[in-house]
Amino acid sequence: MRVQTMRENRRWFIAAAVGLLLALSIPTYLLAETPELWGNLKPGPYATGFTTIETYDYSRVFRAKHNYFGELQEGERARQVQVCVWYPAEKSEDAVTMVYSEYNFPSPADGAFSPFVGQLANREVQFLYGLFRGAGAFVQDLLNSEMAAVRDAPHTDGTFPFILYLPGGTHHYSDNAILCEYLASYGYIVAATHHFGDKDIQATTDLNGLANVLRDGEFTFGLMHDFPGVDRDNVGVMGYSFGGLASVLFQMRNSDVDAIVSLDGGITNGNYNDLIRQAPGYNPQLVQASMLLMYVMDESTSMTMVDSMVYASRYYLPIDGYTHADFTQNYFISGWIADTTGPSFEVRQEHYGNICRQALSFFNLSLKGDESAKEALAGASFAAALTPPPSAAEFIGMIRAGQIDTAAAIYEQLRKDNPALTLFNEATFNALGYQLLGAGRAAQSVIVFRMNAETYPNSANVWDSYADGCMGTGDTATAITCYQNLLEALPGDSALGDALRETLRTNAEQGLQNLGAND
């Protein structure tokens, strides 16, 4: 009897020891409690820190210098910028995680920013009231909801890819705070800033609004340059709706960006095509990052813009059964209110979780080189990027260095792959041709003028220049063709002034006459 008891004790001891060992072998982050709003999302190995940076963009004026009465407006008039950052942080048992209201009003360290940030917080609360159909108790519940981040938590050692997040057009920066927290917990530094107008806090989704988003994003990008732990060689940009559209344009203007995630962004919505084309610096061939396009399929869905971005590798991921709002956290949270017409809170939350996981997998693949993440993207159709062209400066540099044949071969191949390619600016290339002609390199100038004419066939002037080059080499037959093409292009070339139009016409007619083409 006594022996049996000792055996039982020994068994108990061994079981306890094994249990303890097992418990110790489980990573602590798996033991950590995740916020209720995270649903089934599993946090990564890092704690998430959150902080803000307040500063002014002195290149822009937010408050007019003088008021209506002509009086000088005292105080700072520059555009206020508050950047909100999620980052991998040290784990601490004593750390106090944030509640949602701290995202709603990310207390600025500089008290002078309080009224501005407060106005944006009010705008968001009004939005939440609408979302919850005026039910103040639900808004309060949301504001009191636990989140995962710890305000101003100590940074953890290491460098981490940087992601710029651009929220929906008239949204608060925090419309995807859960996703931002989630990414930070897996070792990303994510920064977002507020969307607001030129002169007041109301944001717009027109061309001016787009310019604001891009300039604020670029200002934020610059500020984050020296943020602790930012890996400047691995950069992503991610946006929802209007922000998704802006994300692509952002990369167009900034080749440092390696990866783009569009969360049902306007880039896949045909209604925004005209706006995108009007954007400053619009040039689809400059998009050369890897893209994940998550989108819902409806009557406005259009891949016209995205398909033209052939130098970007593209993951197309249409998601059945989702709505546009599924791509932010707001929609599933609004499921707290019984909605007989839509999916349940749990279903919506799972939708959102899937979106978060897809975004993480894509960034792991694109910014961390984790090939295993491809598996998670298996549901997406993939379009590989074409070999990207050299920049205009690189291309012209080759020609100036005498590598005209190499340049021409590259040009031919790229044009074959992508007939819509524009490698250079018409005027710059035209000037280059004349420089070569003036330097006695007529044969090379003809190649330059030809490439220019092929790229800009509707320009009367390029044909005139091409003819000049041909006359320099004595190729009168081609010169005649050029003059004929010039006269054909002339009526439709709206860029010409009256005087230049007349000069070109005279040149062509005179040239054809001199070459006997009218005989």
């Binding site: 106090v96 995680t97 944030m98 509640v99 209201s101 701290e102 709603n104 009003f105 207390s107 008290g111 309080s114 009224p115 407060g118 917080a121 009010n122 609360v125 009231y129 005026g134 039910a135 103040g136 108790a137 808004v139 309060q140 519940d141 504001l143 009191n144 909801s145 636990e146």
Partner: protein, 407 residues
């Protein structure tokens, strides 16, 4: 003449501190911690500031504290502390949590958590609709956790139930049990009730119930003839309930009549109103709302001197002023006069937040929490408002103004 206790002796201090220790001990603090806290709280830069003890809590604070509701400038709170103010009053709903954040950030940055008294408030009434006691308890605890995180502290000194107008809420056993649990957990040292309507009944319920440590009540000179309220406050104070006063300046003491404004300056009106409250020894501290440094300075001057000037006496004696102020005492006698069943007292309070405090968030929140059918929609069936106030509050005018803002 009122006797004030600003010449607190060391013996007096120790005696009061010792009485506080008993209560503090119940709240989970060691005697040494409690004494240190009391000493820290009592240490104030000004010698002539009057302190009073918040009933059985044993907490001693200057008789002028600060209601942070309308403030959004952290520097204001910092200045208030440096002036000598030691009690900050806020609430979960003020500025949708921003107000607590602002208070918490200031307190943390200044490193003064053990030197100040933080009072916050959570709603229960509108959240109770349709919830089981267990669900309601969960919600209360969740809200409190939100408060603590925003305030960057692991406890508040006074946790009050917000906006109580019904004695049944005071007696609600489920709420009391939850509050006991909160105190036991150390997340609140003391509990309280905040009321701006039906105050006498609510305060009497607190006194009778014996559970809640403090009452934060609407109280100002326009209520001088409300003997029920006066008695309720006196009885509660005698029973050891800490009494804190709000709405002390009658919603800003704005005078609609330009002639009256010329007769009595803003400063006279403001100081007279606050002095009237604090000359009542049953009121232990006040939480005037302040949105500017000048306001804080002026209000806090009352903690050092609450003798009336001649002008202030004249102002308070001018009965026409009380009527012209149009301050709604939330007596609820108007309810019977409204055929649409509108919750006129709460609508009047909404008007005060919007029109007199310019605190549109609080106005919006208050309006949104009026049950449907009793809010402004109840006013649409009448071509002309017929509701009447026995104290000449111009209900139709205020309702019309509210409609302009929130229709």
């Amino acid at each position: 003449m009122q006797k004030n206790d600003h010449d607190l002796t060391r013996r007096g201090f120790l005696a009061t501190a010792a009485s506080g220790l008993v209560t503090a001990g119940l709240a989970g603090l060691t005697p040494a911690q409690a004494l240190a806290q009391e000493a820290a709280q009592t240490a104030t830069p000004k010698k002539d500031v009057t302190f009073r003890t918040l009933g059985r809590t044993g907490i001693k604070v200057p008789i002028v504290s600060i209601g942070a509701m309308n403030a959004d400038n952290p520097e204001l709170m910092q200045a208030a502390y440096e002036m000598g103010i030691r009690h900050f009053d806020t609430a979960a709903v003020y500025q949708f949590g921003r107000n607590e954040q602002m208070v918490g950030r200031v307190v943390k940055q200044m490193g003064i958590r053990d030197k100040v008294i933080i009072g916050t408030k959570i709603h229960t009434t509108e959240q109770r609709r349709g919830l089981t006691p267990e669900q309601h308890k969960t919600r209360m605890l969740k809200t409190l956790n939100g408060c603590l995180k925003r305030l960057k502290t692991d406890y508040v000194d006074i946790l009050s139930i917000h906006d109580v107008g019904d004695a049944a809420v005071v007696a609600d056993e489920a709420i009391i049990e939850t509050m006991k649990e909160i105190v036991k957990s150390g997340k609140a040292r003391f509990t309280g009730i905040a009321t701006h309507s039906n105050m006498a009944t609510v305060i009497n319920a607190v006194t009778k119930g014996g559970f809640y440590d403090t009452v934060l009540t609407s109280f100002n000179f326009t209520m001088a003839d409300d003997t029920d309220l006066m008695k309720a406050i006196a009885d509660a104070a005698a029973a050891g309930v800490g009494i804190l006063a709000m709405k002390t300046q009658a919603g800003g003491a704005q005078l609609p009549n330009p002639a009256s404004r010329e007769t009595y300056s803003a400063s006279v009106r403001n100081l007279a109103a606050l002095k009237w409250v604090m000359r009542n020894e049953n009121v232990h501290t006040s939480i005037p709302g302040c949105a500017s440094l000048e306001q804080v300075e002026e209000d806090f001057s009352v903690a050092s001197n609450f003798e009336y000037t001649e002008e202030e006496s004249k102002f308070l004696a001018d009965n026409s002023i009380k009527l012209s102020l149009g301050f709604c005492r939330q007596c609820r006698r108007c309810l019977a006069s409204c055929p649409g069943g509108a919750d006129i007292p709460t609508l009047m309070r909404t008007h005060m937040y919007a029109a007199q405090y310019s605190n549109f968030h609080q106005a919006r929140y208050t309006l949104d929490n009026i049950p449907s059918g009793q809010n402004l929609s109840a006013c649409t069936s009448c071509s002309e408002c017929v509701a009447q106030c026995v104290r000449a509050v111009d209900i139709p005018k205020k309702i019309a103004e509210l409609k302009l803002i929130y229709a």
